[in-house]
């Protein structure tokens, strides 16, 4: 136990980062406030809404329910890590193409969950898409265009596994 914090090392979007964190600091606040990666949102802050979804060691997780110290040594990808320069990730393209958003608050989490879905199931049925989104809440859209966006992307990448 120490007041000055515990040293952790994580790789975030391919970049190695080291920092001292208070044990109670949640991963989402570490990403947003220490690393300035504010694309990951805090929605409900109670593990329900999925706005804070990131990839931790390749798996979609809710970063509001993980302590930063638990991520020591982990590989993290956030929404900022998807595009390559100006080239959008196919899932981001899909959300733009099918207008899979309204206010945009839930969108980073939706996209991170959707990318994880296509990594594990490259050709999901509509039902599988809807089930995969059970941990992501959208209060604007009714989900129709979100599901369309994921279908569009799955078709576009033609069953290739999404690499990131």
């Amino acid at each position: 136990m120490s007041d000055e914090g515990i040293k952790i090392g994580v790789t975030v979007n391919g970049v190695k980062r080291e920092a001292a964190v208070e044990p109670r600091e949640l991963l989402v606040y570490f990403l947003r406030e220490q690393l300035g990666l504010t694309g990951t949102h805090v929605g409900c802050d109670t593990s329900q809404c999925g706005a804070c979804t990131i990839h931790l060691n390749g798996c979609a997780v809710k970063s509001c329910t993980i302590l930063a110290v638990q991520a020591d040594g982990a590989e993290i990808v956030t929404i900022e890590g998807l595009a390559r320069g100006d080239a959008l990730h196919p899932m981001q393209e899909g959300f733009r193409e099918k207008h899979g958003l309204q206010c945009g608050y839930c969108t980073p989490g939706m996209i991170m969950t959707a990318v994880y879905l296509l990594k594990t199931n490259p050709n999901p049925t509509e039902d599988e898409i809807k089930r995969a989104l059970e941990g992501n809440l959208c209060r604007c859209t009714g989900y129709v265009n979100i599901v369309e966006a994921i279908k569009w992307t799955a078709q576009k990448i033609g069953g290739d596994r999404v690499s990131r």
């Binding site: 136990m1 515990i6 208070e22 044990p23 109670r24 600091e25 949640l26 802050d45 109670t46 593990s47 329900q48 999925g50 979804t53 931790l56 798996c59 979609a60 997780v61 809710k62 329910t65 993980i66 302590l67 110290v69 638990q70 020591d72 040594g73 969950t113 994880y116 879905l117 995969a132 059970e134 941990g135 992501n136």
Partner: protein, 290 residues
């Protein structure tokens, strides 16, 4: 929301976790995936002085066949239980229970050992593990002991685990030929927790009658309950739809659930009969295919 301040230790082995538990006693809590404990700490329902993180202790994650038992490391996440070929082949009811916990992200992080040790009355694993006649391996400084599921869950959020013990493995007997398992759940539509759920393990004899039955129900008490009247009514009988329905009608016998904002006690008792019927029907069907 932030938890109250606490001291943090990342244990590298079970032995190190045991040393820390011995040193800090009831001031310390074990942290695995943290998907029950961290929400409770954020709401200040729990404020442990120390957290001992066992999340990265090696060799506690994974599923293997050990003789006539399926052994699941305590740190195995729900998603791994749900997608495991071994679990799906031998104990599909367990895979089904794992696949309806929380959501995708929660299943990638929450652990079976954490769920069992936390003993939430709305959890899925305790119910199916009771039906499967599972047992739990607990390690303390004085050695290891095996705890049968019957008697393990003693009250809300309370098990027979001692403060100086670490749960390391969940063990479920591999079912013999002619045995089927199933799990059916009515989730709360917002939280996904169990309103009522039922798990069943049904064995058929050569003539197609019920040779043995274990049926457990969640949502009617502080922890999972055996549906003993249903089990007794099934034993020795042909597993027909009519017999199963008659046995399931007794599922809530001896239980005393409470009303809550979502469901009345009467409704829960009724749903128990429905879900037990479905679970026993499906387990019986699977028993006849093997």
């Amino acid at each position: 929301m932030f938890p109250a301040s606490f001291g943090y230790f990342a244990a590298r082995s079970v032995e190190e976790a045991l040393d820390l538990l011995t040193k800090h006693g009831e001031d310390a809590k074990l942290l695995a995936g943290g998907h029950s404990l961290i929400p409770a700490m954020k709401l200040r329902l729990a404020s442990p002085r120390y957290l001992i993180d066992i999340g990265r202790v090696p060799n506690l994650r994974g599923i293997r066949v050990d003789g006539d038992t399926l052994a699941i490391g305590a740190l195995t996440v729900h998603a791994d239980v749900a997608s495991s070929d071994l679990v799906r082949r031998h104990l599909p009811g367990l895979a089904e229970a794992a696949s309806v916990i929380g959501d995708v992200q929660v299943r990638n992080r929450g652990t079976i050992g954490g769920s069992v040790a936390h003993a939430d009355p709305g959890a899925d694993f305790p119910v199916i593990l009771m039906a499967l006649n599972a047992s739990f391996t607990a390690v303390s400084p004085s050695g290891s002991r095996t705890l049968p599921v019957d008697g393990f869950f003693v009250d809300f959020f309370t098990t027979v685990l001692k403060p100086n013990e670490v749960l390391t493995e969940i063990r479920a007997p591999l079912p013999p030929a002619g045995t089927g398992t199933a799990y059916h759940k009515m989730p709360h539509p917002a939280s996904g927790y169990v309103v009522v759920s039922a798990g069943a393990l049904i064995s058929r004899d050569a003539s197609g009658n019920c040779a043995s039955a274990r049926v457990a129900i969640g949502g009617l008490a502080s922890g999972p309950l055996r549906a003993q009247a249903t089990e007794a009514a099934l034993r020795g009988k042909p597993l027909t739809a009519k017999n199963i329905a008659a046995a399931a009608a007794q599922a809530a016998e001896g239980s005393d659930p409470v009303d809550d904002v979502y469901a009345s006690a009467e409704y829960k008792r009724h749903m128990a009969t429905v879900l037990v019927r479905r679970a026993v029907e499906q387990a019986s069907e699977r028993a006849s295919k093997k």
